[in-house]
Amino acid sequence: MNLHTLNRSPADSRVYQQTLQAMGHDDQLLLIEDGVQGALPQLVRYFEDVEGRVYALKEDLEARGLLGLCADNVHVVDVDGFIELTEQADKTITWY
Protein backbone atom coordinates (compact mmCIF):
# COMPACT_ATOMS: atom_id res chain seq x y z
CA MET A 1 0.00 0.00 0.00
CA ASN A 2 1.34 3.40 -1.03
CA LEU A 3 0.57 6.89 0.19
CA HIS A 4 0.20 9.67 -2.38
CA THR A 5 0.50 13.34 -1.48
CA LEU A 6 -0.97 16.06 -3.68
CA ASN A 7 -0.25 19.77 -3.19
CA ARG A 8 -2.24 21.24 -6.09
CA SER A 9 -5.90 22.20 -6.19
CA PRO A 10 -7.95 20.29 -8.76
CA ALA A 11 -9.44 23.69 -9.64
CA ASP A 12 -5.98 24.77 -10.81
CA SER A 13 -4.02 21.80 -12.05
CA ARG A 14 -4.76 18.52 -13.80
CA VAL A 15 -2.04 16.65 -11.91
CA TYR A 16 -4.76 14.99 -9.80
CA GLN A 17 -5.54 12.90 -12.90
CA GLN A 18 -2.03 11.46 -12.80
CA THR A 19 -2.35 10.83 -9.07
CA LEU A 20 -5.60 8.92 -9.51
CA GLN A 21 -4.13 6.79 -12.28
CA ALA A 22 -1.20 5.84 -10.08
CA MET A 23 -3.32 4.91 -7.04
CA GLY A 24 -3.77 1.19 -6.40
CA HIS A 25 -6.89 -0.29 -4.82
CA ASP A 26 -5.82 0.27 -1.22
CA ASP A 27 -3.57 3.30 -1.70
CA GLN A 28 -4.29 6.45 0.25
CA LEU A 29 -4.32 10.10 -0.79
CA LEU A 30 -3.25 12.97 1.45
CA LEU A 31 -4.07 16.52 0.36
CA ILE A 32 -1.50 19.06 1.58
CA GLU A 33 -0.70 22.75 1.02
CA ASP A 34 -2.88 24.18 -1.79
CA GLY A 35 -4.08 20.63 -2.39
CA VAL A 36 -6.40 20.88 0.62
CA GLN A 37 -8.77 22.86 -1.58
CA GLY A 38 -9.70 19.46 -2.98
CA ALA A 39 -11.48 18.80 0.34
CA LEU A 40 -14.07 21.49 -0.42
CA PRO A 41 -17.50 19.93 -1.08
CA GLN A 42 -17.54 21.38 -4.59
CA LEU A 43 -14.15 19.89 -5.50
CA VAL A 44 -14.07 16.59 -3.61
CA ARG A 45 -16.04 14.98 -6.44
CA TYR A 46 -12.79 14.86 -8.44
CA PHE A 47 -11.70 12.20 -5.96
CA GLU A 48 -14.84 10.08 -5.92
CA ASP A 49 -12.95 7.08 -7.38
CA VAL A 50 -10.92 6.90 -4.17
CA GLU A 51 -13.65 7.93 -1.74
CA GLY A 52 -12.96 6.90 1.83
CA ARG A 53 -9.21 7.02 1.21
CA VAL A 54 -8.86 10.80 1.03
CA TYR A 55 -7.12 12.68 3.84
CA ALA A 56 -6.43 16.39 4.23
CA LEU A 57 -3.83 18.04 6.43
CA LYS A 58 -5.45 19.90 9.30
CA GLU A 59 -2.78 22.59 9.72
CA ASP A 60 -3.01 23.51 6.03
CA LEU A 61 -6.81 23.66 6.15
CA GLU A 62 -6.69 25.84 9.26
CA ALA A 63 -4.13 28.29 7.88
CA ARG A 64 -6.42 28.82 4.87
CA GLY A 65 -9.65 29.17 6.84
CA LEU A 66 -10.99 26.03 5.12
CA LEU A 67 -11.31 23.64 8.09
CA GLY A 68 -14.98 24.47 8.64
CA LEU A 69 -15.77 24.21 4.92
CA CYS A 70 -14.33 20.70 4.49
CA ALA A 71 -16.48 17.85 3.06
CA ASP A 72 -17.61 15.14 5.50
CA ASN A 73 -16.09 12.25 3.60
CA VAL A 74 -12.55 13.59 3.91
CA HIS A 75 -10.44 12.43 6.86
CA VAL A 76 -8.68 15.34 8.53
CA VAL A 77 -5.26 14.52 10.03
CA ASP A 78 -2.56 16.65 11.62
CA VAL A 79 1.16 16.37 10.93
CA ASP A 80 1.48 13.42 13.37
CA GLY A 81 -1.27 11.70 11.41
CA PHE A 82 0.68 12.47 8.22
CA ILE A 83 3.69 10.69 9.71
CA GLU A 84 1.54 7.72 10.72
CA LEU A 85 0.27 7.45 7.16
CA THR A 86 3.88 7.35 5.92
CA GLU A 87 4.72 4.67 8.51
CA GLN A 88 1.88 2.45 7.33
CA ALA A 89 2.57 2.93 3.62
CA ASP A 90 5.38 1.14 1.81
CA LYS A 91 6.24 4.29 -0.10
CA THR A 92 5.12 7.88 -0.29
CA ILE A 93 4.71 9.29 -3.79
CA THR A 94 4.58 13.04 -4.26
CA TRP A 95 2.47 14.80 -6.88
CA TYR A 96 2.89 18.50 -7.57
Binding site: S9, A11, D12, D34, Q42, A63, R64, L66, L69
Partner: protein
Protein backbone atom coordinates in the same frame (compact mmCIF):
# COMPACT_ATOMS: atom_id res chain seq x y z
CA UNK B 1 -23.57 34.54 10.84
CA UNK B 2 -26.26 33.99 8.20
CA UNK B 3 -27.75 37.36 9.13
CA UNK B 4 -24.39 39.00 8.68
CA UNK B 5 -23.99 37.04 5.48
CA UNK B 6 -27.31 38.37 4.24
CA UNK B 7 -26.45 41.95 5.09
CA UNK B 8 -23.20 41.58 3.24
CA UNK B 9 -24.89 40.10 0.24
CA UNK B 10 -27.40 42.93 0.10
CA UNK B 11 -24.62 45.45 0.41
CA UNK B 12 -22.80 43.69 -2.36
CA UNK B 13 -25.79 43.78 -4.67
CA UNK B 14 -26.07 47.51 -4.21
CA UNK B 15 -22.39 47.88 -5.02
CA UNK B 16 -22.80 45.67 -8.06
CA UNK B 17 -25.67 47.80 -9.32
CA UNK B 18 -23.60 50.94 -8.91
CA UNK B 19 -20.80 49.27 -10.75
CA UNK B 20 -20.11 50.98 -14.02
CA UNK B 21 -17.04 51.11 -16.21
CA UNK B 22 -16.32 54.57 -14.84
CA UNK B 23 -16.16 53.26 -11.29
CA UNK B 24 -13.66 50.68 -12.38
CA UNK B 25 -11.17 53.08 -13.89
CA UNK B 26 -7.81 53.22 -12.26
CA UNK B 27 -4.07 53.25 -12.62
CA UNK B 28 -3.33 49.69 -11.65
CA UNK B 29 -5.27 46.42 -11.71
CA UNK B 30 -3.58 43.64 -9.74
CA UNK B 31 -4.84 40.16 -10.66
CA UNK B 32 -4.44 37.67 -7.80
CA UNK B 33 -4.72 34.02 -8.78
CA UNK B 34 -3.12 32.27 -5.82
CA UNK B 35 -4.39 31.57 -2.33
CA UNK B 36 -2.44 32.24 0.87
CA UNK B 37 0.45 30.11 2.20
CA UNK B 38 0.95 27.88 -0.86
CA UNK B 39 3.16 30.42 -2.60
CA UNK B 40 4.40 33.96 -2.03
CA UNK B 41 2.62 35.30 -5.11
CA UNK B 42 -0.49 36.50 -3.27
CA UNK B 43 1.58 38.48 -0.80
CA UNK B 44 3.85 39.88 -3.48
CA UNK B 45 0.86 40.98 -5.55
CA UNK B 46 -0.74 42.65 -2.55
CA UNK B 47 2.55 44.37 -1.72
CA UNK B 48 2.66 45.88 -5.19
CA UNK B 49 -0.94 47.06 -4.77
CA UNK B 50 -0.25 48.67 -1.38
CA UNK B 51 2.87 50.44 -2.59
CA UNK B 52 1.05 51.81 -5.63
CA UNK B 53 -1.78 53.02 -3.41
CA UNK B 54 0.70 54.59 -0.97
CA UNK B 55 2.10 56.55 -3.92
CA UNK B 56 -1.39 57.90 -4.61
CA UNK B 57 -2.34 55.58 -7.46
CA UNK B 58 -5.89 54.26 -7.84
CA UNK B 59 -5.66 50.50 -7.46
CA UNK B 60 -8.21 47.72 -8.02
CA UNK B 61 -7.82 44.04 -7.20
CA UNK B 62 -9.23 41.18 -9.23
CA UNK B 63 -9.28 37.74 -7.63
CA UNK B 64 -9.44 34.93 -10.18
CA UNK B 65 -9.40 31.14 -10.00
CA UNK B 66 -8.16 29.74 -6.71
CA UNK B 67 -7.08 33.27 -5.83
CA UNK B 68 -10.64 33.74 -4.58
CA UNK B 69 -9.70 31.63 -1.54
CA UNK B 70 -7.42 34.48 -0.50
CA UNK B 71 -10.50 36.21 0.90
CA UNK B 72 -11.95 33.31 2.92
CA UNK B 73 -12.71 34.28 6.54
CA UNK B 74 -10.83 32.83 9.47
CA UNK B 75 -7.38 32.37 7.96
CA UNK B 76 -4.58 31.81 10.41
CA UNK B 77 -0.84 31.66 10.67
CA UNK B 78 1.04 28.79 9.13
CA UNK B 79 2.15 26.01 11.49
CA UNK B 80 5.68 27.44 11.69
CA UNK B 81 4.33 30.90 12.39
CA UNK B 82 4.18 32.10 8.78
CA UNK B 83 2.21 35.31 8.77
CA UNK B 84 -0.23 34.62 5.99
CA UNK B 85 -1.99 37.52 4.31
CA UNK B 86 -5.00 38.28 6.51
CA UNK B 87 -3.26 41.25 8.13
CA UNK B 88 -2.40 42.68 4.73
CA UNK B 89 -5.99 42.26 3.53
CA UNK B 90 -7.18 44.17 6.58
CA UNK B 91 -5.00 47.10 5.56
CA UNK B 92 -6.52 47.50 2.10
CA UNK B 93 -9.26 49.87 3.21
CA UNK B 94 -6.77 52.11 4.98
CA UNK B 95 -4.94 52.43 1.67
CA UNK B 96 -8.19 53.26 -0.16
CA UNK B 97 -8.11 50.00 -2.08
CA UNK B 98 -11.82 49.35 -2.08
CA UNK B 99 -12.55 47.83 -5.45
CA UNK B 100 -12.25 44.09 -4.86
CA UNK B 101 -13.48 42.15 -7.87
CA UNK B 102 -13.91 38.37 -7.72
CA UNK B 103 -14.38 36.09 -10.70
CA UNK B 104 -17.93 34.81 -10.55
CA UNK B 105 -17.16 31.52 -12.33
CA UNK B 106 -14.37 30.71 -9.88
CA UNK B 107 -16.61 31.37 -6.89
CA UNK B 108 -19.07 28.86 -8.29
CA UNK B 109 -16.38 26.32 -9.14
CA UNK B 110 -15.02 26.52 -5.60
CA UNK B 111 -18.49 26.54 -4.03
CA UNK B 112 -17.76 29.82 -2.26
CA UNK B 113 -20.33 32.49 -1.48
CA UNK B 114 -19.78 36.15 -0.74
CA UNK B 115 -20.69 35.43 2.90
CA UNK B 116 -17.71 33.08 3.19
CA UNK B 117 -15.39 36.01 2.49
CA UNK B 118 -13.93 38.46 4.98
CA UNK B 119 -14.30 41.57 2.84
CA UNK B 120 -17.08 43.00 0.67
CA UNK B 121 -16.53 42.07 -2.97
CA UNK B 122 -18.08 42.55 -6.39
CA UNK B 123 -18.61 39.34 -8.33
CA UNK B 124 -17.78 39.95 -11.97
CA UNK B 125 -18.67 38.28 -15.25
CA UNK B 126 -16.24 37.73 -18.13
CA UNK B 127 -17.54 40.93 -19.77
CA UNK B 128 -16.77 42.91 -16.63
CA UNK B 129 -13.34 41.30 -16.35
CA UNK B 130 -12.62 42.31 -19.94
CA UNK B 131 -13.75 45.85 -19.16
CA UNK B 132 -11.43 46.01 -16.15
CA UNK B 133 -8.50 45.03 -18.39
CA UNK B 134 -9.06 48.08 -20.57
CA UNK B 135 -10.06 50.66 -17.95
CA UNK B 136 -6.83 50.34 -15.97
CA UNK B 137 -3.61 51.79 -17.32
CA UNK B 138 -1.50 48.96 -15.96
CA UNK B 139 -2.37 45.31 -15.32
CA UNK B 140 -0.10 43.03 -13.27
CA UNK B 141 -0.78 39.31 -12.84
CA UNK B 142 0.26 37.38 -9.73
Amino acid sequence: MSKRGFAKEAEEEVRAMNDTQTDLQGDLLVILRHGPHGSSLLREGLDMALVAAAFGRRVSLLFMGTGCTALVSGQGQGPLGQKGTQATLNMLEMYDIETLLVESEAMHALGLKACDLSLPVIEVSPAQIQAAMTTHRLVATF
